[in-house]
Structures are given as C-alpha cells and as structure tokens.
Symmetry: none
Subunit: 151 residues, 2 copies
C-alpha cells in the first residue's frame, strides 16, 4: 500500500471515533515522512466532497486543516448533487437540479431561488459565453457545499 493510502487510512480511522477531525498539515507530513504537499494530494483525491467529506483550512500562525464526514440524510443528497454537476452546466440543468433538491427536502425554496439567482443569465451577463458554463458549475458547487456545511 502506498503512502497516499496509508495517510488516508490514518485519517479515516481518526474519523471513526470523532466525526470531525482537526490536524496540522506539517505535523502529519512529518509523521509520515513526506512532503507537506502530499497531504493536499491525499485530501483532494480521497476526501473530496464527492466522496462525502468537507475539508476546511486556515493559513497563517495557528493554521489548521479540518475534515468532516458527512452522514446520510439531506447533506449527503447535497453531496451527490454536487458530484453530478461536473465541470460545466447550463442554467436550465442547474434549475432542474435545484428543483429535485427542493423536492427531496434538501434545500428550502428560498435557498433554491437564491442559488438560481446567483447562476442566472442576468448575473453572469458579461462573462464570455465559452466560460459561463464552467463558472456556473464552480459557483454551484461552492453553494451546494455551503448548504451541506450548514446542514
């Protein structure tokens, strides 16, 4: 088993006792004798939102990385929606996803309207056509993540 999986396993087992985990990137890297950036690799390949994890971090003195596991329920539905968005999406498809989320009770109608507004043609007017889809997807994902964050 490679380094990546070792670190991933370490994190997963730590998450079994506590459902939220806070760690220092540098410390963890030292413990496994690897480059700090390796930790970022582990996080992005093994603890992505699509895989049901929320990762937050802070730089500077006293910085940290916090990892949370998302359990079944509305939050997990949001994560699945997030995974389905992909790297680009048009306004109509986004609206459809929102309708489903609302129907499933994962978001409130108000939240749906808010997100639709953020991704509307009107809001994104001025963005070159070939970039709109990508940008919309990025905004959508960040918003869905924020929703899951709140739960």
């Amino acid at each position: 088993m490679g380094l990546t999986d070792l670190v991933a396993q370490f994190i997963r087992s730590a998450l079994e006792s506590d459902q939220s985990l806070e760690l220092r990137r540098g410390e963890l890297a030292e413990r496994f004798g690897c480059a700090p950036s390796q930790i970022n690799y582990v996080l992005s390949t093994r603890f992505s939102p699509e895989q049901g994890y929320i990762v937050e971090s802070r730089r500077g003195g006293g910085g940290y990385i916090r990892i949370r596991r998302v359990e079944a329920g509305p939050r997990l539905i949001l994560m699945h929606a997030l995974a389905s968005v992909g790297s680009s999406i048009d306004a109509a498809s986004a609206a459809a996803v929102l309708t489903n989320l609302d129907a499933a009770g994962a978001i409130t109608p108000a939240e749906g309207r808010l997100m639709a507004a953020a991704m509307s043609e009107r809001a994104l007017a001025g963005v070159p056509a070939e970039r709109k889809g990508t940008l919309r997807a990025e905004i959508f994902k960040q918003m869905l993540l924020a929703c899951a964050d709140a739960g």
Copy 2:
C-alpha cells in the same frame, strides 16, 4: 486558539453584558502578555466598521480605547447593503456585509453562507482578476434581489 482570537473573545464577551466597552491598551496587552500593538491588530482584524463595530480612542495621559457594537434596523441595513455594493466589490467586503445582514436579521445564517460561497475566491477562481469584482457585485445584487423577492 491563537492569541488574537483569545483577545477577541475576551472583548466580545465583555460587550455582551455592556453594549459599549472602554479599555486600556496597555493593561489588556499586559493581561495577555503580548505587545501593545497586538491589541491594534485584534481591533483592526476583528472589530472593524465593516464588521459592525465602532472603535474610538484617545492618546495621552488618561487615554483609552472604546468599542461599540452598531446595530441598525433590518430595513436600513438592507438599503445600506444594496447601496454599498456598487459596481464592484471584493470577497472580504462582501462577507462583512453579509455578517451585518445576518446580525440585523435581514437574512438567515444559511443564506449568508450560501451567498458568501457563491462569491468566494474559490468560486470565482479562473475569472480574470480585473473582472472579478464586477462579476461578484452582479451576482451579489441578483442574490439580494432574490432575497427581497422571497422575504
């Protein structure tokens, strides 16, 4: 938790009982065993006007620092928010506006997080720096409109 957050917490809790607080920079610094200028750092990063605080001070003998929390009515705050957005805004300022809207009860915390996410650097990465502010402002306004629409 770092020094900055300790001091900030101390001040916030003092502000809970009294809505205006007066203190000596030197005393506070000594109590926390730090450089006096550290207090200025705390004030400028945690108690800025954008975050809803007014800080006044006086030098010289008998000098002091006075901190007040500003609270306006929801309507006034919302108007102010709309006006303050203008044609361009950065992520930090937008976040501060949202904090105030939340504190004034004009939006829910969940809505605040959602909007912050939609305008985050992360969501808008990939947008040329010189267009980011404008786009963020556009998205912000559309979202605020949607909020007003719903509310």
